[in-house]
Amino acid sequence: MDPTSMRIAEPSPDQDFSPPRGRTGMEILIIGAGFLILMPLISIHRVTDFMIFCIFALSFDLLYGYMGRLSFGHLLYLGTGAYVYGLLIKYFQVNVFLAILSGMLAAGLLGMLLGLIMVRTTGACFSLMALAFNQIGFFLVLSPLKHITNGEDGFGAHARNIGFLNFNSKVTMFILTLLVLLVVFYFLKRLTTSPYGILVRSIKEDENRVRFLGYNTYFYKWVTFVTASLIAGLAGTLTALNYRFVNPNVMDVHQNVGVVFACLIGGAGNLYGAIIGGVAYMMISNYLAIYIHRWEMFLGISLLIIVFKFRKGIWGNIQNIGEYFQRPKEARPAEEKRA
């Protein structure tokens, strides 16, 4: 019998899906330590950038990896967060944390509204709708709202200090972003291992069956969509805070491929995969672009290789190796035969 099908069939009804206590804490420590180690190797400003991208990749992974909806317009929510944050800082000089919160909420509200339509579609239709909405958003900030968003040139948004928090300091930004990343990771870890998370994953596998079990899948998909857009909005506000500058590039439709690439290379459907992929993508785009002039070509070729040969991504392969060694010795030859 196929070992994978056995593993799925095993759980008893009252099985606890959440990971053992203390393990999530360990994981958070490892991630935090990982970024702290990365910091002296590359410049601190870049690592902050990497972490913001990782937050965005996590939110994308919730949508793509866990719910199976490939969004080619996820930057819309990041851009919304960034713009709302930037405009509030620029015109009303509000408190930074208030601006971050409102940026997040604005992205979430937009997600709520568009989610009502988006979630009804699947597969390619979903991707194309996302792309279309992203295009509309990009167009809106570029030309009809030009008098407030300053169109293509963008505008600066200088955050005022709060108490001892100096937002111009790289170290403060680093610590703030790291904390936010860890909180987001913890939240998503809890979310995806909860019964709700299992349900979302089952929707990815077979939505009809979940519906037959009596769940209102529409609602669950909508909630996941809104959560993903909230987190993307959070990443957007951090981007604006980090660069102290907002321009339409934050929601440029063409940039969407970056996060898709990150999610795939890291391994979709896994939070670690998203973080590893995020770091890998940022490394590639920051350093390889210096040496390889034909950078889009490289991205295209590697995407093709991923699609045809490397679907599980980095984390998926690490997991495979791990599982191989954890298995009792008698089981190993069978594994090889199957492969």
Binding site: L70, F72, A124, M129, Q135, I136, R294, L299, L304, F308
Partner: protein, 277 residues
Amino acid sequence: MLLTIFYGFSIGAILYFISIGLSLTFGTMRVINFAHTLTYSIGVYVLITCIPLMKGNFFPAAIMAILAVIPISYVIERFVIRRLYGESLDYTFIATFAITLMGVDTIKWVWGVNPLPLSAPLGTYIEFWGMTFPVYRIIIFAIAIVLFLALELFFRKTILGKIVVAALEDKDGVRCLGVRVDKYFSLMFILGSALAALGGVLYAPISAVHPYMGLSVLLLAFAVVIVGGMGNLRGTFISAFSLGMVMAITARYWSQGAETMVFIVMAIVLIFRPIDI
């Protein structure tokens, strides 16, 4: 207003050329062909290269551009699309997007990043009911009508077209009859790409030429296909012309909002008639 309607028809004609190939690949192979942008832009760039070679003659250069796309689309079909049959739609989407990225980069490599100038081959206008109509747009519209009729005949009267129409309905059924559907699909793919190149060649003189030109047009073409129904050839025709009209009428009152309006129409259509693909 009559002029606006006329412009709508010519935009609709262009959209029809580009979306017919998309609709065919959607319907037969279940592949979202993002690489369609590529054939579109490559057609235009080959045209620009060929015009000086042809001593400024537009039409032979246009034919060369369309012919140049055929081997490229064959290579794409043979080595990428054919491997994607039966895959999840996400992967087809990503793989064809990867091809587009590579192609756009090649275009940048060969022709450079900067927009290139290309003027309409026919600058003449004709007077009619006190209004001036550019002849070039009339020709575009005429080609669209001829093409629609030709495709209708092709899909109804020839055995090749009939096989494709049957495969749109039920691929496995046709395969059970002993027909090698893959061969016909690859022909359809090439036909669709050549038509996209035709659309590009006709549209480029009245729009801008730059490496990313395909993407915005492709989004419009996707909207046409979604509104018209996947693999529905007549639906594609009707929706191309209605969306062209939407664009022209919006552009009359609010020029920047034309493309956005198409997406709004698409969203409204999807709200009332969600599509499962």
